[in-house]
Amino acid sequence: MHEYAFFLGCIAPNRYPGCEASAIKTSEKVGIKLLPLCGASCCPAPGAFGSIDLNIWYAMAARNVVLAEQMGRDIALICNGCYKSIYEVNHILKHNDELRDGVNEVLKEIDMEYKGSIDVWHLAELYYDPKICGVDKLRESVTRPLTGTKIAVHYGCHLMKPRKERHFGDTDHPMWIEELVEALGAESVQYRNKMQCCGAGGGVRGFDLEHSLDITNEKMINLQEVGADALTEVCPFCQLQYDRGQVEIQEKFGITYGLPVLHFNELLGLAQGMSPDELALDLHAVDVSPFLEKIL
């Protein structure tokens, strides 16, 4: 078993608890144990918090990293926004003495010290990594293949970009999440401008909802063109933007899409035989049942 401190963030545990439940259950079937990271907070939101003062963002994210350092475990997480904060701040502080000293001065007030002793991973990259799980092992864990479904992938921004501060390589036409999706027995479909942002980030969803929805709407038009049965992502904030966003797009622009949106963990849960009730899919704003009918 590979053990990780499971950093939850905000939206997964507090809006889509199915993402959290499925992450814990699906990872166990492929040899990954997610341990609770007690007392963790918001990552904090890189857009909203980082825009006000990057120094506080460093310190707040470092506090979450230190909790995992105290456990002696690497962090695994399931949200791109959290990845931006936790991975990137960990990375920056490991390599920048000036910033690390500044952060440690603040953390001293709460009897903490950032040491730089752990690494941070997205659960999806652990699933893809053959040293930890790998596509083949993931395929073997599937008991209810999603045969006959067409699934589009939204990568989101902060997992892989900026490229030079990450280790994923190509950010124009990546295909590794499609490989994960196809391991579940589904057909993955390509669509125009796949790597475009969902529109929610940088505090824009809160600052100018219509602007942010207009970006989402462009993605929805491109998704509709290829007739996907569902959209999958690896970020609960993107999920919120696509899922609740479709309802808001309907209210504000009068356009209905009805495209089910599922976190990759939820999709994996379904493929491993979890029931929709075990995933709290009823909390999704867009009805998921047209997709479920194809696989159940």
Binding site: G203, F207, I215
Partner: protein, 193 residues
């Protein structure tokens, strides 16, 4: 009094005499501060526009990242920090991945937002996130509908974060108070009411 245009270079003055660039509008320190906070080499920008061409916000607004890059290079602090378009960047980092000069325009925007925030120029939703995190540790706090759903899933109503371990919130408050951010957020929000 007519204002003097000034490039500090006689041959440039001649070539660019019909352009609008006033020396008293610019602040040299601004460029350096943006570069320091953003940890990027903004002054290397040669205005190719790849950033604006990559930007999902550009086609649907007057926000032009290339313009903000120019403002960063010329030290046009006032113009940059008081332009509401500053807050339309979704921080998708497409421009950063594509910049041929290896600059991170996204981080230039983040640095400018930090500098604007020092002058109390911050949209309200950003400050409300600060208040929520100060109170609960979460930017998106738990609620009753979600608690019920969690229990139905066989999980604790409160996740094992600051929700389940509220004693950790003190540490978060201490960090935010170290920078006086909560008081500042409260003040700015109440002034706007």
């Amino acid at each position: 009094m007519a204002r003097e245009k000034n490039y500090g270079n006689p041959s440039l003055e001649g070539k660019l005499k019909d352009r609008y660039y006033y020396s008293d509008d610019t602040n040299r320190d601004f460029t350096q501060e943006v570069e320091k906070i953003g940890r990027t080499i903004a002054h290397m920008c040669y205005q190719c526009g790849t950033c604006t061409g990559s930007c999902p916000s550009a086609p649907r607004s007057s926000y032009r990242i290339r313009l903000f890059m120019r403002r960063a290079v010329l030290g046009l602090e006032e113009e940059a920090l008081t332009d509401p378009d500053l807050w339309l960047c979704t921080t998708c980092y497409s421009c950063t991945d594509r910049c041929p000069r290896d600059i991170a325009p996204t981080d230039v925007i983040m640095a400018m937002r930090n500098l604007a925030a020092r002058r109390d120029i911050v949209p309200r939703n950003f400050l409300k996130t600060v208040q929520a995190i100060y109170k609960t540790g979460h930017g998106v706090p738990n609620n009753d509908v979600n608690r019920a759903a969690r229990v139905k899933l066989g999980m604790d109503a409160e996740p094992p974060t600051t929700c389940g371990f509220p004693e950790y919130i003190e540490g978060i408050k201490a960090i935010i108070d170290h920078y006086g951010l909560k008081d500042r957020a409260d003040r700015i929000l109440s002034e706007g009411e």
